[in-house]
Symmetry: C2
Subunit: 301 residues, 2 copies
């Protein structure tokens, strides 16, 4: 009997996705931060679709501030839209909770969701409330539609060998608080896609050790990582920067010759926020490997 | 300390919805079977958004056939699109599962989802997989986009006093099996909105005792129900027909003078499937009341 613990998250997703019908357009299916829906050439924007979930005891502790949990639930999705160069629009929020949950807790959760929707000009379109059996963990599932201007769409699959890989902010140690109160890199993404459009981009949610290989793999590339260059969060080791996850920073690739201009302009646009060259894309089968990062079904970390 | 058990589902939703920003267009927010998004007059169709969830031990038992559970998870959402006169298009599926879950169980769940997507010409656009702590119930959260032709849009809020209320199929006893293998009334909805468009429509998911007052209330009406006329499922009492829930039938209102023509044409279009007059809408504050139906946070039923 094979369980989820045995095969891990990426293998599970690959198996499941193969079982279900998809749009003939691969961008409109699973594989990137969001699905990208093209309503036709007379539309200036593409629609983005995303779903994400938080589970009590996995993504937040019972004693966590519910308003921060609500913020996080919505902000993770905003981060995925930013990773595509887009913006969030309409949210569907499902909460599955034990009946013993305090109403005040759920109201604070929604206040946190509301904070995030207001901050990023999004609205609630609908939702669902249901109970879970006594003793079961609460689950908060957030789906949303968003949009991106056609020319701003940033995919993870369009990097090329020789391009330089950069990351915003610092990495590691998110568990000490940032994971509950991060600000999605929406402003930075807007600037990037309009000023120095990356050739490929995604957000770092499961740790660079998981997400850099994903960007390189989706682009049909290998990668080289300069671990000494990693922008470590205060007090963090390289292992933490690679493996902790929930950094919600932007990981991007760009042509080598555009890097100096990008870095100069970035410092003026976002003083105090690092944008760091951490490696490059190489031919598939070459370059390094990484282990670690967040796997939802690996309980012992 | 007030808990969810104390206030129940409808009161909770009212409180939560008030905390969160909405689209100025009320149709684009919570309140009907789906949110309705209008991209502008040059679009022949409106977009529909819906989210729904199934919880182990609440909506299905651990020993239930996972393929049937998957079908149900997707079919409930299809039923909501049908309730608006529309069709499903793109699904986002989140599964939150214990790591001890068998991979084969999850694959069968997705085969059931796939059966439903194939049956109704929909596709998977994305998803999320996460673990829940050991011993927690599995949660399957399904969101989807759909569409409806402008002229076919059926709301629950547009009934008028004097109009006749009808329901498709039979009611009650869903727990004995129908709740896991029902066919959403998509075909019947397509026929209704194009041939005899109801003035108001919704699907019966929480039991007529909950859903008839919802349709009447959303329409600013009261209602009269002829309990003797209820189309009881085999072996079911009136109480069961009113309160069991998960019937996934269509509940509709239509002008009195159109009823004879509708019933005559219905018999030809759907031989063997009852369409039954069960009451009428009346002025607000008049008519009857109903108790019972499914409340997610009322554990003792």
């Amino acid at each position: 009997m094979t369980t989820l613990r045995d095969i891990g998250e990426d293998a599970l997703i690959a198996r499941l996705v193969a079982l279900v019908p998809h749009d003939p357009d691969p961008l409109a299916g699973p594989g990137d931060d969001c699905a990208v829906i093209d309503f036709g050439p007379d539309h200036e924007t593409l629609q983005l679709l995303k779903t994400d979930a938080l589970v009590g005891g996995v993504h937040f502790l019972p004693e966590a501030d519910p308003r921060a949990v609500g913020w996080k639930a919505a902000a993770r999705v905003v981060s995925d839209f930013a990773a595509m160069g887009g913006m969030p629009e309409r949210f569907l929020v499902t909460v599955a909770l034990p009946v013993e949950t305090e109403v005040a807790w759920v109201e604070d959760l929604y206040r946190g969701i509301s904070d995030c929707l207001n901050a990023f000009d999004a609205v609630l379109a609908g939702g669902e409330t249901t109970r879970v059996p006594e003793g079961s963990a609460p689950v908060i599932s957030v789906s949303a539609t968003g949009s991106v201007r056609r020319e701003h769409l940033a995919l993870r699959s369009t990097g090329k060998p020789g391009q330089v890989v950069l990351v915003t902010g610092t990495l590691g140690g998110s568990i000490h608080g940032k994971h509950l109160d991060f600000t999605p890199r929406k402003k930075e993404s807007d600037w990037l896609v309009s000023q120095y459009k990356p050739t490929a981009m995604m957000d770092v949610s499961d740790g660079l050790a998981k997400d850099l290989p994903r960007l390189a793999g989706a682009s049909g590339c290998g990668f080289e990582l300069d671990e000494r260059a990693l922008p470590l969060a205060a007090g963090c080791s390289v292992d933490q920067a690679l493996g902790d996850g929930e950094d919600f920073e932007l990981l991007l690739a760009i042509e080598k010759e555009r890097v100096p201009g990008l870095l100069t302009a970035w410092v003026k646009a976002f003083p105090g926020l690092p944008l760091t060259v951490i490696g490059r894309l190489v031919e598939a089968g070459k370059g390094g490997m990484l282990r670690g990062g967040w796997d939802h079904f690996a309980v012992e970390r």
